[in-house]
């Protein structure tokens, strides 16, 4: 099956520039995978279709990065989390506008998109998470 655009990481981030969180749904096992890829990691099928996700989910793990990689040092300390989306797939990302003491595993979060970053490849616009 040939998907347009191709189910690549580049396509995923180009969709982010359009404020869309896109995954792929397997026609065989019906599971949703984010980020997209051409082989279903659950059942190995090649029958995947694009699907837009609402981006709602729950926090399953978090940390606050104090000692940051060079390009993030101006932001530190900042919280990072892994969010399990309602559709079952998990994504990691920065958590914005939540006080550190309010971070709690199980809390509801919503994916949102940066507008400030250039959308020129490979300067991908990032998604992030905020309270709904």
């Amino acid at each position: 099956m040939v998907l347009t655009p191709a189910p690549t990481i580049e396509s995923f981030y180009k969709f982010c520039a359009e404020r869309k969180l896109m995954g792929v749904k397997c026609n065989r096992c019906k599971k949703i995978t984010v980020p997209p890829r051409s082989v279903c990691p659950h059942c190995g099928a090649y029958e995947l279709m694009w699907t837009e996700l609402p981006g709602r989910g729950k926090l399953v793990a978090y940390t606050v990065i104090h000692f940051a990689p060079a390009q993030f040092q101006a932001l530190a300390p900042y919280p990072i989390g892994i969010v399990e989306l309602a559709e079952g797939a998990r994504l990691p990302g920065m958590i914005r506008n939540v006080k550190f003491e309010d971070l709690k595993i199980g809390m509801e979060l919503q994916a949102d998109f940066e507008t400030s970053t250039s959308s020129e490849w490979p300067q991908w616009p990032r998604y992030f998470f905020r309270q709904p």
Binding site: T63, V64, I65, F67, P92, W124
Partner: protein, 395 residues
Amino acid sequence: MRKSVMAKPLASIVSAGVTKFGAREGVYARELFVEAAQEAFDACPNLSPQRDIDGLFVGMMSESYEHQAHVAPMIADWLGILPVPAFRTEAACASSGVAMRCALYAIQSGMHEVVLVGGVEKMTNLRTAAVTEVLGMASDYPFEQWHGISFPGIFALMATAHMAKYGTTEEQLAKVAVKNHQNGTLNPKAHFQKRITVDDVLSSRVVAWPLKLYDCSPISDGASCIVMTAPKLARKFTNSPVHIVASVQAQDTIGLYERDDVTSMNVTRIAARKAYEMAGVRAEQIDVAEVHDCFTIAEIMAYEDLGFCSQGQGGTLVDDGITSLGGKKPVNTSGGLKAKGHPVGATGTAQACEIYLQLTSQAGKRQVDGAEIGLTQNVGGSASTGVVQLYRRGD
């Protein structure tokens, strides 16, 4: 014999060498490797490296530290064993654990009989921020590194999930560091030779909450190696070989986020289960273990995934002193990655070196009395690679 292990050896270790770990100024990685090899050769007078060694396996993670790729022939050259075939493996922090497995394939195939297996990393050439970047390359670039997740951050995510699910505390994490530093004071090769307290850990600078500076293994230089032979040849080189009786490797996703459960390392669980089966050994029979404590939470998860306790109970093992030297199940007698140091590529074979010393009663002040069966657990990246190996004292 107190214990009987039925499995036939896959290969035998007849000698081992480790450099002093730490900030080693004025030497190149190749020179560190030769220093480790020289120690192994000096301890094995029946071995003639140039005549006997027919293969070299080297684990090293990164070319960034010395601007040097193609390190396998370079090390063979510096060892004076050209033109034997030389291989370099890269599996992040499990690079030399995987090198050992490649060496086992070589010996099991019958194409090689006596090989040198080791690992090296010369990390302190770069500043701390740059080293952090290099280590971070072991995580997923477009979804982890791109979103500002540092490498300690990956293990901090595991820690908060473990704390929320099982009630593991920052104090329990700290006690892992305290125990391993205590062991480090008994190992002259260890990077750190100083005791620390729980308060020292808790009051150290936050790196990625809940992990503080003393929850993290240090940036170290060092090399380690073992001489591995076909089991039938072991007696030619030593009267006290150590046999490798199981060796299992497993892989998981490159991104931590892709996994259903981040409170446990799938690769360790799978590899341990298969290794116990392969050797006919139960977790309770392990006398001494070296586990991959790159961060304190990783040692607690290792206890659980290796079956030393049930899931979620890892913190209580360190509370009760069970994994201390003198406890029922001593873990990381060398000081572990935490205190012995973690020159990434050297770590897998350095763990094997410690088990070799323990099972041949050469571990000095940190000797576990009567140790017969040992285990190593080596992890790469966020546990995208896991290697578990079992060893027994030669009869």
